[in-house]
Each structure stands twice: as structure tokens, then as C-alpha cells.
Symmetry: C2
Subunit: 175 residues, 2 copies
DNA sequence: GCACACCCACTGAACACTTAGTAAGTGGTC
DNA sequence: GACCACTTACTAAGTGTTCAGTGGGTGTGC
């Protein structure tokens, strides 16, 4: 995780990773057949532990959207994970990137989740595309803030900006 | 530009770039002393041509924010440039990336510009930090949408989502 | 005796960058 | 207009390094 976050997938080397876990390069490849399999395994593990932490109770509607602001707040304390996702999600749009499928699926799921929450929170019709437009914007703002924050932490308040966008959009859609 | 956009800085090779311009690898290094200098030159050239196109008249306040929505619309027709910035801005947060300074400066300038525009458009006090919070969010939403759009163009309407965020935030701040 | 968990030593490819050279042109001098 | 010194625009052939991945081991525990 740290290696991929600090250097991206392409520029991280198995030798460096092996070193940090006290193995040789060949030792790492004993467990993961290839570098790209290691990357997808790291991403899957990250998802699993996140889901475990979340528990079985998943908030809905407005509560879910408030939860996103909390996530932004918590993210400001977890630079490693933020960096991992910020770097890899953008790198994944390059040709033949091994995490491309992962991120496409991840965003599809996220969009569906947030769209539902917006629809519910604003009492919109399920066919109202404004919910999807809003959901995409909410996801985008969180991602975009991370890049700015990683480059210059003092210049960005992820919690405030995320909260402002969510509040403003909800207020607008409710009218 | 195409090479760095399609493969990122680290994974693009001078040999490939040389091939596409009909030179040898050494021929490219005759003009640009190093790969990282080539990257920064590409980014600077991009800025220069953008500034030339913009002309001398720069919109202010509300007009500038409307202009951002137009930019989002135009970007949907310029995948190459969108990819270049989306990939490189995120890659730049990795250790010792040659474009790190470029993007830090770029975001600092952008934040100042958009903050001024929001302040003016909403008639806020110059010291009101909500303008900066809003500006960061507007920039972030545009960046974040690009990554989603590059991964799955059909799933994202950059114009609509950008417009929604700007309109909602302005409406909220004006009250 | 067998399976697992590794390491050592290697391979071949790719990479950025260097060096030495060539061919074409440019400007000045006799 | 012939010669010369110098520059520019490259190329060919390297250099040393780094990389992911392989194959053949060896030790350890069951």
C-alpha cells in the first residue's frame, strides 16, 4: 500500500516492496504471481477491511450523505490511503492499467449508492436524472479535493468543501 | 502530449515519443536535455497556447464562473488534454515527481482566481473564507469528474454536474 | 517423505542518458 | 569563388542501471 501510494503502480518496484516486508523480490512473487496481481490484491484487501469496519448497518438517504462528510474528515488523518486512491484512480485511466476494471466498477457502485441517497434525501422521483448529476458531482468533489490536499495540505479544507457542496446541492434540489 | 497522457510520465518512454515524431531517442534528447525537462516543456507550451487563445479579456465574477461550465463542455471534446492533466496532476503527488511544482503553482493560481470570482459573484466580504471553500470545491469537482469521465464517458455529464455545483453553491452563498 | 516458504542466481528486456561521429549549412576572409 | 572555422541537427552504438519474472535450489515442520 505505502509503496504504490508513494510512487504509483508503474514506478513502485517489487524490490522496494520486498525490502519493506523483509523478503526478497522472489519471495514476494512466491505469494503474488505478478506485480499486477499484487496491486489488485492490495485494493481488494483495502475494500474488505473497509467493509468490515462499516459493519452491517449501512446508512441511507441524508444520513449516508452526512456520513460522506465524516469520511472526508477522517481522510484528513489517513494520508496513506488517500494517496493510494488518488494516485491509482488517475493512473488507472492510462493504457492497459491493471486497476482499470477495479476503478470502473468501484465508481459504478459508488455512483449508484450516492444516487440512491440523493434521491431519498430530497424526495425525488427515482427517474429524476438530477440525482445522478448531483451524485457524480459529490463523488468528484471528494476525489478532486484529495489531489489538491496532497499537494498542499494547508490550502484545502476537505471537510468544509465537501460539506458545502452536499448542503448546497441538497438545498437546491429540495426546492 | 499524447504519450504522457496515454501512459503517464513514468511509463511513457523517450523511444516511443521519438518514434512518433520521426526522430531517434537521442534526437529528442538533443532538443530536451532530459525526460523531465521535456515534460515541463510540454506543460508550459500547453499553458502558453491556452493563454493565447484566451486573449487579453478575462471574465470576472459570475461571468468567469459561467465560463468554467463552458470549459467543462469544451473539455468533453478534448479527451487528450483532459487525460494529460488528469493523469499528470495525480501522478505529481508521488515522490519527487518533476511536475509537482508545476501543479502546486497551478492550483494556487487557480484557487486565487476562482476565490475572487466567487467573492465578487456573491457580493461577499473579501475576508469571507466561504469563498475559498467554495472555490476549492468548484476546482475539485471539475478535476474529479474528469477521472470518472475518462474511465466511463457515458456515465458522466461533466457540463451538467459542474453547472449544478456552481449554481447550487452560488444560490446558497447569496442567501 | 512430502509440502510449504522461502532465497540465490540468473535472464532478457527496457530504460534514460552519453559519446563520438557525420552531413549540411553559415559567415567571414583572401 | 574557393577555402576555412564553426554551429546545428541529428544518428549509431553504446553504458550502466533497473526491472519483472524464472528455475533450481535449501531448510523446516508435519
Amino acid at each position: 500500500m505505502d509503496a504504490f501510494a508513494a510512487r504509483g503502480y508503474n514506478n513502485a518496484s517489487l524490490a522496494e516492496i520486498a525490502d519493506r516486508v523483509g523478503l526478497t523480490q522472489a519471495g514476494v512473487l512466491h505469494y503474488f504471481r505478478s506485480k499486477s496481481l499484487l496491486l489488485t490484491s492490495v485494493l481488494e484487501l483495502r475494500d474488505e477491511t473497509d467493509i468490515e469496519q462499516l459493519g452491517t448497518e449501512r446508512p441511507h438517504g441524508l444520513e449516508f450523505l452526512r456520513h460522506l462528510v465524516d469520511t472526508a474528515r477522517r481522510n484528513a488523518e489517513r494520508e496513506g490511503i488517500v494517496r493510494l486512491y488518488a494516485v491509482l484512480s488517475a493512473e488507472s485511466v492510462t493504457d492497459d492499467h491493471p486497476a482499470q476494471v477495479y476503478f470502473r466498477d468501484r465508481y459504478a457502485g459508488l455512483r449508484a449508492f450516492v444516487t440512491d441517497a440523493v434521491t431519498e434525501a430530497c424526495g425525488l422521483d427515482a427517474s429524476d436524472i438530477r440525482a445522478r448529476t448531483a451524485a457524480n458531482a459529490v463523488i468528484a468533489v471528494m476525489d478532486g479535493l484529495q489531489v489538491q490536499w496532497l499537494l498542499e495540505p494547508g490550502a484545502v479544507d476537505m471537510t468544509a468543501s465537501t460539506g458545502l457542496v452536499i448542503d448546497s446541492i441538497l438545498a437546491g434540489l429540495r426546492r
